[in-house]
C-alpha cells in the first residue's frame, strides 16, 4: 500500500509540474502576478511529492520489500543497511528517480535564492524547469517505474552488484547527478532569456554562482567515479575513455567553457549569443549522456540498464527539449548584439581562445564516443577508437590552452597591459623549465621530451596562478573570493597536469612468476615474495602472500595480497594490496598458482607515481569553483538594474 502511495505521489508530482510549466509561461507572458505565484506554489508541491516518492522507495529498500520488482532486482535481505540505501540508485529506475529529485531540489533552490532577477523572468525559468521535470517524470512512469510490483513476491532479492558495494559508490552517483542536472539551470536561464529577448549583466551575475556550484558537483562526481574505478576495478587505470565516462566529461568541458564565457558576459556584456548556446549545449550533453547510457545504443562496462523503448523516449525528450531550444535560438539569437569591442590582447580574447579550445576538446570526445555509432549506421566494419585516439588527439587543444591560461590569467579586460607581469612570468617560465627537467632526471632517472614539457607547463601554471594572490597580499590589498577561487582552481589544473604527466610517464607494470624467496624489480623498487599461507575469512578461504617492498635496500612496506575463494559462490576474488603514499602507489595482485608445489604464483605488480595528484588536482579545481561563489557581488539583493558604475567597479576587481 505504501508503495502504491509512492507511485501516486509521482503522478501528483507530474500534474504539479504541468501546472508549474503552464502558469509559469502564461503568467510571465500575460504579466499576471497571481499566475506566476501559482507556478511557484506548484513547484513547491512538485518538490514535496517527488521527495515523498523517493522517500517511499528508500523505505521499501530499508524494509526489503521484495514484492517491489525493483527492490527484488537490486537488493537482498543480507545487504548491509548503508548499501540498501545506495541500492536505491543501484540500477536504472531508481537512478532516474534520483535524477528527478535532484532536478526538483535545484528548481526550488533557484526559484527561492535568485534574488536579483525580476519575477517574470524567474517564472519563465521555473516553467522551463517544469517542462524538463515533466519529460523525466513521464519517462519514469512510462518506461521505468520503480514502484512496479512483482507478483508473486520474491523471497529474497538478487542482491546489489558486488562492484557497487563500495564506499565510492555511495557518493559518486548523487554528486554526478547534482552536476549533470544542475546544467539544467543555465539551460532554463538561456531559454527564459531567449523568450524575453533580453540579456544583461544581472542575468549573467545571477547565473554564475549556480553554474559554478553545478560544475563543482560535476567535477567531484567525475573524480569520485575515477577513484572508484581505480580501486574497485583494479585495472590500474583511472580513466578509460569509456562512453559512460565520456558522457559525464563532455558536459564538464562545455560547463568549463560556459563558466569562462559567463565571466565575459557579466563583465563586458560580450559573447551573449555564445553564452546562450553554451548553456543549451551543456544541458544537451547531459541529456545526450543519459540517452547514450540508457538506450543500449552504446554498450559499455558501466551501463547497467538498457532498453530501446527507453531510448526512443529519451530521444523524443532530447528532440523536444534541445531541438525546441535550438530553434528558439535560431529565431531569436540575432537580437543579442554587443556593441563594445576588445583588443587583440585582452582578457576577452584569451577567454575566447579558451572557449574555442575547450569546444574542440569536447568535439574530439564526442566524435570518439559517437564514432562507433556512425560506423555502424553506415554499415562499415566495426572499428573502435580507443585510448590511442584520445591520447593522440586530446592534448592537441589542451597544451595550447594551458599555455594561454598561464598568461591569460593576468590579462585585463578590453586591452591588456602585460608589461607588469612580463618579468615574473618570464622568471617563472625559466624556473618551470628547470623544474621540468630536474624532476624527471633526479626523481625518475629518465626524461622523455613530452614529460618535461608537461611538468614545465604544470610548474609554470602553478607559479602563474599564485602571482596575483601573492601580490595582493604583499601590497595589503583585499583578496576577493572571485580572485582567490580563480587562483585555486587554476592551481588545481596545474596539480592535475603534474599528476597526469608523471603517472602516465613513469607507470610500471609487471606480470611475473614468483616463488618464495625470489625477487622482482619494478622501477627502482625490489619486491620480494616471502611466503604464502592459507588464511580463513568469515565467508571465504584465502591464500595470502607476503611481499616485501624495498627501495635502495631499505624495506618500505610489507604487502599482503590475497586470492580468496568465497565458500558459497565458489568465486575466486583477487584482493590486491596497496602501498599508498602521497607520491606513489605500489600494488601487488595474486594471479594463479603455478607448478606442482603450488607455492609459485603469477603476480601482477604495479607502480603508479603521483597518481593521487590526479584526483587531488580535480578536487582543488572544484574547491576553487565553490570559493568563487562566495563573492560579495552575488549577494547584492538590491541590484535589480545594473548601473554602469558597479559594472565598472566589478570589472576592475578582475574575473
Amino acid at each position: 500500500m505504501i508503495v502504491e502511495l509512492g507511485h501516486f505521489a509521482l503522478v501528483l508530482a507530474l500534474c504539479l509540474a504541468a501546472m508549474q510549466s503552464y502558469f509559469g509561461l502564461a503568467g510571465a507572458h500575460t504579466q499576471r502576478a497571481q499566475w506566476m505565484a501559482v507556478a511557484r506554489s506548484a513547484l513547491v508541491g512538485q518538490f514535496v511529492f517527488t521527495v515523498l516518492a523517493f522517500g517511499i522507495l528508500v523505505y521499501a529498500f530499508e524494509r526489503s520489500d521484495f514484492s517491489v520488482r525493483y527492490v527484488a532486482m537490486t537488493s537482498s535481505s543480507a545487504l548491509p543497511a548503508i548499501y540498501k540505501f545506495t541500492a536505491v540508485w543501484g540500477a536504472h529506475e531508481g537512478s532516474m528517480l534520483l535524477w528527478l529529485l535532484v532536478l526538483a531540489l535545484w528548481s526550488v533552490a533557484v526559484a527561492f535564492f535568485t534574488k536579483a532577477m525580476p519575477e517574470s523572468f524567474l517564472s519563465r525559468v521555473i516553467a522551463v524547469l517544469g517542462v524538463v521535470s515533466i519529460g523525466v517524470n513521464l519517462f519514469i512512469l512510462w518506461t521505468s517505474n520503480p514502484f512496479e510490483r512483482l507478483v508473486p513476491a520474491a523471497v529474497d532479492g538478487n542482491d546489489l552488484n558486488p562492484l557497487l558495494q563500495d564506499p565510492g559508490f555511495v557518493m559518486h552517483p548523487p554528486m554526478l547527478y547534482f552536476g549533470y542536472v544542475g546544467m539544467a539551470i543555465p539551460f532554463a536561464f538561456a531559454v527564459a532569456a531567449l523568450l524575453e529577448g533580453k540579456l544583461d549583466t544581472v542575468w549573467a551575475r545571477s547565473l554564475r554562482p549556480w553554474t559554478n556550484i553545478a560544475w563543482a558537483f560535476l567535477t567531484v562526481g567525475i573524480t569520485l567515479g575515477s577513484w572508484w574505478a581505480y580501486y574497485e576495478l583494479g585495472w590500474g587505470g583511472w580513466w578509460f575513455w569509456d562512453p559512460v565516462e565520456n558522457s559525464s566529461f563532455m558536459p564538464w568541458l562545455v560547463g568549463t567553457a560556459l563558466i569562462h564565457s559567463l565571466a565575459v558576459t557579466e563583465k563586458r556584456g560580450l559573447f551573449k549569443s555564445w553564452t546562450l548556446l553554451l548553456s543549451i549545449f551543456a544541458f544537451s550533453l547531459s541529456l545526450l549522456g543519459t540517452f547514450l547510457v540508457r538506450s543500449g545504443v552504446l554498450v559499455s562496462v558501466h551501463s547497467f540498464a538498457s532498453d530501446p523503448k527507453r531510448g526512443v523516449f529519451i530521444l523524443m525528450l532530447l528532440a523536444l527539449c534541445i531541438g525546441g531550444a535550438l530553434l528558439l535560438y535560431a529565431w531569436r539569437a540575432s537580437r543579442f548584439r554587443s556593441d563594445v569591442g576588445f583588443a587583440m590582447v585582452s582578457r576577452e580574447s584569451f577567454l575566447l581562445f579558451n572557449n574555442a579550445l575547450l569546444i574542440v576538446a569536447t568535439l574530439i570526445v564526442l566524435i570518439g564516443t559517437l564514432f562507433p555509432l556512425f560506423i555502424d549506421a553506415l554499415d562499415l566494419p566495426k572499428v573502435s577508437v580507443g585510448e590511442p585516439f584520445y591520447n593522440l588527439m586530446f592534448p592537441l587543444p589542451m597544451l595550447p590552452m594551458l599555455l594561454l591560461l598561464a598568461v591569460g590569467m593576468h590579462a585585463g579586460w578590453k586591452r591588456a597591459d602585460l608589461s607588469m607581469v612580463r618579468k615574473p612570468l618570464l622568471i617563472g617560465a625559466v624556473i618551470a623549465v628547470i623544474i621540468g627537467i630536474a624532476i624527471p632526471l633526479t626523481g625518475y632517472g629518465k626524461a622523455p621530451l613530452m614529460t618535461c614539457v608537461g611538468i614545465s607547463i604544470a610548474a609554470w601554471l602553478a607559479f602563474s596562478a599564485l602571482i596575483e594572490p601573492f601580490n595582493r597580499i604583499r601590497r595589503g590589498h583585499s583578496l576577493s573570493p572571485s580572485v582567490l577561487g580563480m587562483s585555486i582552481a587554476h592551481l588545481g589544473v596545474a596539480l592535475f597536469v603534474l599528476g597526469v604527466t608523471i603517472a602516465k610517464s613513469y607507470t610500471a607494470d609487471r606480470d611475473t612468476a614468483l616463488s618464495p624467496g625470489s625477487t622482482a624489480q619494478l622501477g627502482q623498487y625490489e619486491l620480494t615474495f616471502v611466503n604464502v599461507k592459507d588464511v580463513e575469512g568469515p565467508n571465504y578461504t584465502a591464500a595470502e602472500a607476503e611481499v616485501v617492498v624495498k627501495e635502495g635496500g631499505k624495506v618500505i612496506a610489507t604487502l599482503h595480497p590475497q586470492k580468496r575463494i568465497y565458500r558459497v559462490q565458489k568465486n575466486p576474488m583477487t584482493e590486491s594490496d596497496f602501498l599508498a603514499d602521497w607520491n606513489r602507489h605500489i600494488s601487488v595482485a595474486m594471479g594463479e598458482p603455478l607448478g606442482r608445489e603450488g607455492d609459485t604464483w603469477s603476480m601482477r605488480l604495479q607502480y603508479r607515481p603521483l597518481v593521487r595528484f590526479v584526483w587531488m588536482g580535480a578536487l582543488i579545481m572544484a574547491l576553487g569553483g565553490i570559493i568563487a561563489v562566495f563573492d560579495k557581488r552575488y549577494r547584492t539583493v538590491a541590484a535589480k538594474q545594473s548601473s554602469p558604475v558597479t559594472a565598472q567597479a566589478a570589472a576592475k576587481q578582475g574575473v
Partner: protein, 190 residues
C-alpha cells in the same frame, strides 16, 4: 547573417535522425520488448549438475534431458503459491506430454522430501539447489516459475507465478506442439 544561428539546430536535427535510425535498427533486429520477459528466452538453457531431492547420492545432469522438450519448474516448500500450483503440476504430469523437472531452490531437504511424499510427485526428478545458484543462472525472480525448454535445448517460454490449466493450454501446449515457433493466438492450441 541570421542563418548562422540556425546551424546548431540543423546539426542537432541531423544527429537526432542518426540516433533514431540506430534505435529503429536495434528494435528491428529481434529485440521486441513486448515478448521479451527474460534475456534467456530463445537462448540455450543454462546447464546444471545437482543432487536429487529424492536421493541425495544421485546426481541430475540437465544434459541428460537434451534432445526433447521438457519443463523446468522452480519451487520450494516456503513458497505458498507453489502449494496452490501443485495440483496443476500433477494434472500436467498425468497428461504425459512432456517430463517435468523440479528445481527445489534455497530449501530445507527434509521439508522438501516430506512435501513430495505428502502432496504427490509430479517430477521425473527434482534437483536440490541449496544456495540458489542455479536459480540465479536461470534468471529466476522468485518461485514458482516454469520454463519450457525445446528439443534444441533453447528456452522457449517462461511463466512467472503459479501455473494454471488455462496458461498451460494457451501458452505451453501450442509451443510444445510446434516445437519452436512464434506465439500462436490464444485458444488455438488445445
Amino acid at each position: 547573417m541570421k542563418w548562422r544561428f540556425a546551424i546548431p539546430a540543423i546539426v542537432f536535427i541531423a544527429l537526432c535522425g542518426v540516433f533514431g535510425w540506430m534505435l529503429y535498427r536495434t528494435g528491428a533486429e529481434g529485440y521486441n520488448v513486448s515478448v521479451l520477459q527474460s534475456p534467456l528466452l530463445g537462448k540455450g538453457a543454462p546447464s546444471f549438475k545437482l543432487p536429487r531431492v529424492e536421493a541425495m547420492d544421485q546426481e541430475i545432469d540437465s544434459r541428460d534431458y537434451a534432445g526433447k522438450a521438457y519443463l523446468l519448474n522452480v519451487w520450494a516448500t516456503w513458497c505458498v503459491e507453489c502449494r496452490h500450483e501443485h495440483p496443476v503440476l500433477l494434472a500436467i504430469a498425468r497428461q504425459n506430454i512432456v517430463p517435468i523437472i523440479g528445481l527445489d531452490t534455497k530449501d530445507d531437504l527434509n521439508d522438501a522430501q516430506r512435501w513430495l511424499n505428502a502432496l504427490g510427485n509430479p517430477y521425473v526428478a527434482t534437483a536440490f539447489d541449496a544456495d540458489g545458484r542455479v536459480a540465479l543462472d536461470w534468471g529466476v525472480y522468485g518461485a514458482p516459475e516454469t520454463f519450457l525448454i525445446g528439443a534444441d535445448g533453447k528456452i522457449l517460454y517462461k511463466h512467472v507465478g503459479a501455473l494454471s490449466m488455462r496458461v498451460w493450454q494457451e501458452q505451453f501446449l501450442p509451443r510444445i506442439q510446434q516445437g519452436s515457433a512464434p506465439v500462436k493466438p490464444v485458444g488455438e492450441g488445445s
